[in-house]
Amino acid sequence: MSAVLEVSGLKTHFFTHAGVVKAVDGVDFTVSKGEVMGLVGESGSGKSITGFSILGLIDQPGRIVEGSIKFNGDEIANAPEKKLKTLRGNRISMIFQDPMMTLNPVLRVDTQMIEAILAHEKVSKQTAWERSRDALGLVGIPSPEERLQAYPHQLSGGMRQRVAIATAFLNKPDLIIADEPTTALDVTIQAQIIHEAQKLTKQTGTAMIWITHDLAVVAGLAERISVMYAGRIVEQGGIDDVIDRPLHPYTVGLLGSVPTANRRGKRLFQIEGMTPNMLALPKGCAFGPRCHARSEACNQQPPVENIDRRSLRCFNPQPAAKVVK
């Protein structure tokens, strides 16, 4: 499989007057054609910033300070705005968390879909309208002609997110970055949306980065998973390897804190401590202060190691850790 996206050594920092926030601090990953990768982490771990960095949508006071982002072999980190514009929404699309906030409230759905096509292709408005209508049909929206004339607030949350997904697929992109697209939705709607997204990636061969804090969502959707903590990927590998046999204590903790049906009555695992202060990260491994397996060595930054079909940043892997399922 050829790589659609290769990110290596990516660092995106925010230069605030309180200090430098290293929101993304040395992230490497690769997404292959048609592959779905889950990017998992708590809020504040830098997963959304990673997504925005790929699209070059980092606002002041932040910027990409180091690293490379290769899209289809082409370097796009800190590329000129003109070049990025031809990629955004065209080769790389993005789906946001809250469709209520992302669809412009005063513009009709058709306006917002058609403009996404016309920004990248010279086709007639009529053609663009027909493509928009077909795209809405594909994501399971009934009577798409009517929906096209609606304003966003006239649609339900799930419906709006379907519109966003349809818009993302409009130009048949190579990669879609979905930033917590189901977090704001009801669980039942969530399942439908995931199903639609999965179906479309299969049909079109589009690769996808699915950003979420919810391991349960990724488990059924992604082929590979990257777990982020405090701006770094701490564990990365095939979905089955990581979920069944997590090695990093943080991954172990995350998995342990997911409530499941066959664990009823048992106490949920809890990661002790709080998410770290990004301005004053602890020396060495950022997870150190919360880690039950920490040792002397953890005062140094653990390097990325490849063990057991995955890459890992930890001095004390937990191969024996039993995750109760």
Partner: protein, 325 residues
């Protein structure tokens, strides 16, 4: 909808009635116009004759009742000074005021919105900081003082335009206005600019705040992620969102322009109803003062009523609530 309009109208009527009570009793408790109108060497009989003629010998509630009865028939009493009906006097002076206020509103929109847009898009540029500093001055400087400075600079020192008065009137489509002659425009320029200054600042601030808020919204980031041109993002996505509130507020300000024209008209000797009011206050010409204040109250109540109704029709979100969807 109809219920809403009727309720609003009843409220408006109540307001007008309450204000008539406040205005009438307030104005009629101050000063004694008789001593201004009767020559100092008049004897007691002359004074009493004058009092009887002006109806000042009756109890004040009876005077109010007569006033109310007259007001219902469009008769707000006769001016003590001119002996003419007060309403007629005011209506005669109204076109000049309207012309001034309207020109000022147009100036404010045409100058203020583009400046505000620029300041909102590039908040850190020097030009924007200059625009914002100027707008603080525009807010802080008392209108009358700016008027004096304008006269001194443009009329006394530079002699570009006349200092005071209204110029020749031209006729266009049956409207008589100084907008249609060169001499009229040259007389109109300074007072209109003077009156507009505060509203220009307001338009700048409203637009800038709106743009800055909109630029931080997810729908703008989403529009960028779709690869739209900056032009389209600003002109369609941002402007469409902020134009509704900005234009509504500016429209509401029309009433306040008419109120403020009192100052401008006095300085520039503009023969409008504001100058008439000040003259009437100074000469204790009560009927004219009462009539002016009643007209202004009516005017404001009407503007608010229209804006309320328009707003509920225009804003798609308000409209929807009304349909119960």
């Amino acid at each position: 909808m109809t219920v809403f309009i009727i309720r609003r109208m009843l409220q408006a009527l109540l307001v007008v009635f309450l204000m008539s009570v406040i205005v009438f009793f307030g104005v009629n408790i101050v000063g004694d116009p008789v001593y201004m109108l009767v020559s100092p060497d008049a004897d007691q009989a002359d004074i009493e004759a004058a009092i009887a003629r002006l109806g000042l010998d009756r109890p004040i509630w009876e005077q109010y009742w007569l006033f109310l009865k007259g007001a219902a028939q469009g008769d707000l009493g006769n001016s003590f000074i001119f002996g003419e009906p007060a309403l007629k006097l005011i209506l005669h002076h109204m076109p000049a005021t309207m012309e001034l206020a309207f020109s000022a509103l147009i100036l404010a929109i045409v100058i203020g919105i583009p400046l505000g847009l620029y300041a909102g898009l590039y908040p850190d540029s020097r030009i924007s900081k200059g625009i914002m500093a100027a707008s603080i001055f525009g807010f802080s400087l008392p209108t009358f003082w700016v008027g004096l400075m304008l006269i001194m600079l443009f009329a006394v020192e530079l002699r570009w335009v006349p200092a005071t008065g209204r110029g020749d009137l031209g006729s266009f489509l049956g409207f008589q206005s100084s907008l249609f002659t060169l001499d009229g425009l040259s007389h109109l320029f300074l007072p209109a600019l003077n009156l507009a200054l505060l509203k220009i600042s307001l338009a700048i601030r409203l637009t800038r705040a709106g743009v800055r808020e909109a630029m931080g919204q997810d729908y703008v980031k989403y529009a960028r992620a779709k690869g739209l041109s900056t032009r389209r993002i600003i002109l369609v996505h941002v402007m469409k969102n902020i134009m509704i509130p900005v234009v509504t507020v500016m429209g509401l300000e029309f009433g306040s322009l008419i109120g403020f024209s009192v100052v401008t008209e006095t300085i520039f000797a503009w023969p409008g109803m504001g100058k008439l009011l000040i003259d009437a206050i100074l000469q204790l010409d009560r009927p004219v003062v009462v009539a002016y204040l009643m007209i202004i109250v009516l005017f404001f109540v009407l503007i608010n009523l229209i804006v309320d109704i328009l707003y509920s029709i225009l804003d798609p979100r308000v409209r929807l609530q009304d349909q119960g969807a």
